[in-house]
C-alpha cells in the first residue's frame, strides 16, 4: 500500500465535503486523514486528503473523478517524496505532585515540542511533525501518563517551485487539465 496525498481546491460551498467523499466511498477507498481550510484566495477551500492504495492508476482515476465535481477548481495527487508535509498533535500529560518530572529540555531540544498550557496537575504539549515523529514522541511521553492525545490531519505543500494557487483558473481565463 502506498500513501498518496490529494490536494483539492474548491469553491467554498455547503455540501461540498459530501460531494468529494462519496467518490471515495463508492470505490471503497478509506480516507486516512482530511484537512480543510480556506486558501489565500477568498472563497476557495483547500482539501488535503491522505489515502493508501495499491495501484497508482486507480488513484489517477480517482483524481479525474474528483475533478468532475462542478465546484472543484483543481486537483493534484502526490506521493510522499513529492511534498513537504506535517501534522500537529496535542498531548495532555498528567503532572501530579511527587510524580515523575517532565524533562522539558529534552522535550524542547530533542523533540522540538512545546508546553502550550499549564493546568494544576497536567500540562498540554504541542508537537508538529510527521506521523512517525509524533508517534516517536508519543512513546517517549507514555510513561508519564497521557490523559489525552489528538492528532490533526496532514497539511502538505508540493516541492515544485510554483504555488498551486497559480494553477487555479482566473476569472474568465480558463485552463484545461487534459
Amino acid at each position: 500500500m502506498t500513501q498518496y496525498t490529494i490536494c483539492v481546491f474548491t469553491e467554498n460551498s455547503i455540501g461540498l465535503l459530501n460531494k468529494i467523499t462519496v467518490i471515495f466511498t463508492r470505490r471503497r477507498i478509506n480516507i486516512e486523514s482530511l484537512t480543510v481550510s480556506e486558501t489565500v484566495r477568498k472563497g476557495v477551500s483547500r482539501f488535503t486528503i491522505v489515502i493508501k492504495h495499491e495501484k497508482r492508476e486507480e488513484v489517477e482515476k480517482l483524481v479525474r473523478q474528483i475533478r468532475k465535481i462542478v465546484e472543484v477548481l483543481a486537483v493534484f495527487g502526490y506521493l510522499n517524496d513529492e511534498i513537504v508535509y506535517n501534522e500537529i498533535a496535542l498531548f495532555k500529560i498528567s503532572t501530579p505532585i511527587g510524580g515523575k518530572a517532565l524533562d522539558i529540555d529534552t522535550i524542547n531540544r530533542i523533540y522540538k515540542a512545546w508546553v502550550v498550557y499549564w493546568g494544576l496537575d497536567y500540562v498540554t504539549i504541542q508537537k508538529t511533525g510527521t506521523e512517525e515523529e509524533i508517534f516517536d514522541f508519543f512513546r517517549y511521553l507514555k510513561p508519564h501518563g497521557i490523559i489525552e492525545f489528538v492528532r490533526s490531519g496532514r497539511v502538505a505543500i508540493g516541492k515544485t517551485p510554483q504555488g498551486l494557487v497559480e494553477y487555479l483558473p482566473e476569472d474568465q481565463e480558463w485552463e484545461y487539465y487534459l
Partner: protein, 579 residues
Amino acid sequence: MSKEIAFMEEDIKIEEVKFLSGGQALMECFVAEGVDTIFGYPGGAIMPIYDALYDYTDRINHILVRHEQGASHAAEGYARSSGRVGVCMATSGPGATNLVTGIADAIIDCTPMVAITGQVASNLLGTDAFQETDVIGITTPICKWNYQVTDPDEIPLILAKAFFIARAGKPGPVLIDITKDAQIKSMTKPFEYKPIEGLPGYHPRRVPKMDQVEKAAELINKAKRPYILFGHGVLISEAMEEFRAFVEKTDIPCASTLLGLSGISIDHPNYMGWLGMHGMYAPNVMTDQCDILIAIGMRFDDRVTGDASLFAKQARIIHIEIDPAEVEKIKKTEAPVIGDIKEVLNLLTPLVKKGDYTGWKNEFRKLEPREKEAVTDRDLKFEGQIKMAEVVKMVSDKTKGEACVVVDVGQHQMVTARYFEFKRPNSYIASGGLGTMGFAIPAALGAKMGAPDRDVIAFIGDGCFQMTIQELGTIAQSKLPVKLIILNNNYLGMVRQWQQLFFDKRYSFVELQNPDFIMISKGFGLEGEKITERDQLSEAIDKMLAHDGGYVLEVVVEKEENVFPMVPAGRSVSEIRLT
C-alpha cells in the same frame, strides 16, 4: 392617519409588487430558457411553484404524471428525442425520492435533465418536519450537480447554472431543491436572467487540442485493419453528418454500441451492426482482429467489452471523448482526443486519408451468414408461436424504419435493437446504463412531447409494463398518440434466460400472473387489442398505426424464447454464443 401618509403607503405597496416571488422567478427562468414542457406532480412543499405555474400555462405545457418516477423518465424521453434539457418537478420527501430512479438513469446515460424539488421551509430544515428528506444528500452521488435554494434572489443565477451544467460537456441531471419560503418570498431586486456559458470549475473543452487530433490522424492513416466503435456521444453532439462524412472519407467499417444505434443509417455500406452482450456476431468478434480501434463517444461499458482486459487487446486505441475522466477508465489508450465529437471530427476528417479496406470489410461480411443461419433465420422462421423478432421487424417495415422507438429493459430491448431498421437519428431510446425496468411508458410519452411530429412506438415487456402502468393515465389525460406494444411472454424473460443458461433452469420467481392488459388500458381510456395468432399481426399493427390516439397492442409471444448472440457476463467476446 393623514391623507399624505396613506398615499405613501400605497406607493410602497406598488413598489413591492414589482418583484417576483420565488415561484414566479422560477417560471420566468423556464421561459427564458425556452422550456416548453414540464413533467411533474404537485404536493405540499411545491405548491407555491404550482401556483405560479397556473399563470404560465399559455407558455409552459405541464404534463401531470401519475408517479414522480414517471416524471423523471418522461423528462429523459423528452431530452433524448429532442436533444433539449428535460424538466421535471416534484414535491419534497416522497415526491423527491420517487424521482431518484430517473435521475440515476439520466446520469449513467448522459441525459440532460433539470429536476426541481420542493423542500420544507428553511426554518424547518433538519427538524424531521413533515415530508422532509435530505434530497441533496440522497442525490449527490447521482447528480451532475445539485443545489438547495433558500433565497428567491438566488433563483435566476442558480437556474442558469443548472441549465448550463445539465447541457454542457457530457450532459447529465441537475437537481435544484427549493425551500417553500424561497418559493413564496419576493425577490429583493428585479428579475434578470443571464444564461451562463462557463463556470470557474466547469468549462468543458469543446475544441480539441490539435496535437491530439494530429496523433489520431497519424494512427488512422497507418492502419491496416481500423475499426470504429461509436456510441451515444455521436447523437448527443448531433454529429451524425460529420460522423458519416468521416466514415465515408476513410472507408473504415463501423459498429455501434446499444445507445449509439441510429447514429448512422442502418443501410450505410460501412455500418456493420452493433456490438455488446447481445450485439451482432461480426461486430463483436472483429474487435479481436482490428489493429486500430477508433472509439467515438463511447465508454467501454462492461456490456460492450465483456472481460475488458481481453477486449481488443491487440489494438491500439484512439478514444474521442468529451469527458477526460472516461479516458483510460477502462482501456489503455494510445491517442485520446478530448473534445466535442462534432468539433473533433471537423478537424480530424480533413487530415485522414481514404484507405483500401475492401478485404477487411469483407471479413465482417463473411461472418454474417453464420449469424443469419444460427439466429436471424430462427427468429424469423414464422412458425409456431409468434416471436418477438417478427413483431419488431413488421413494425419496422410498416413504419419504414422512420419511427422513434422507445424500449424497456430485457429481451424485447435486445430484440428491438436487432430487428428494427433505424433510418433516422435519435430513434432508439432505451435505458442502457442503468437498465431501468418501467422506463418505456413514461419515456415514450416524454419522447412524443419532445418530437411531436414523429411516430413514437414503444416495445415493452409484460414485466416492465406493470412497473409504470399508471402512466397510461398520463397518456390518456394528455391525449398523447403514443403506441405501446407489449411483447408478452408471461415471464421476466431475460432473467429466465440466464436462469436457463447459467442456473440450471431453476426458474426462481420469473413467472408472472399477468392482468388483462387491454382491459386495464381501456379502463385508463386507451384503445387496445390483444392478439395471439400470427395471421392477426399485420392487421393489428396497421390498426394501431392508424389510430389517432394512444394505443396498446398486446402480442402474446413464445414463452421460452432466448436472445442470441450472447457474450456471457464477464467473459471475452471471443466466447460469444450463437445458440
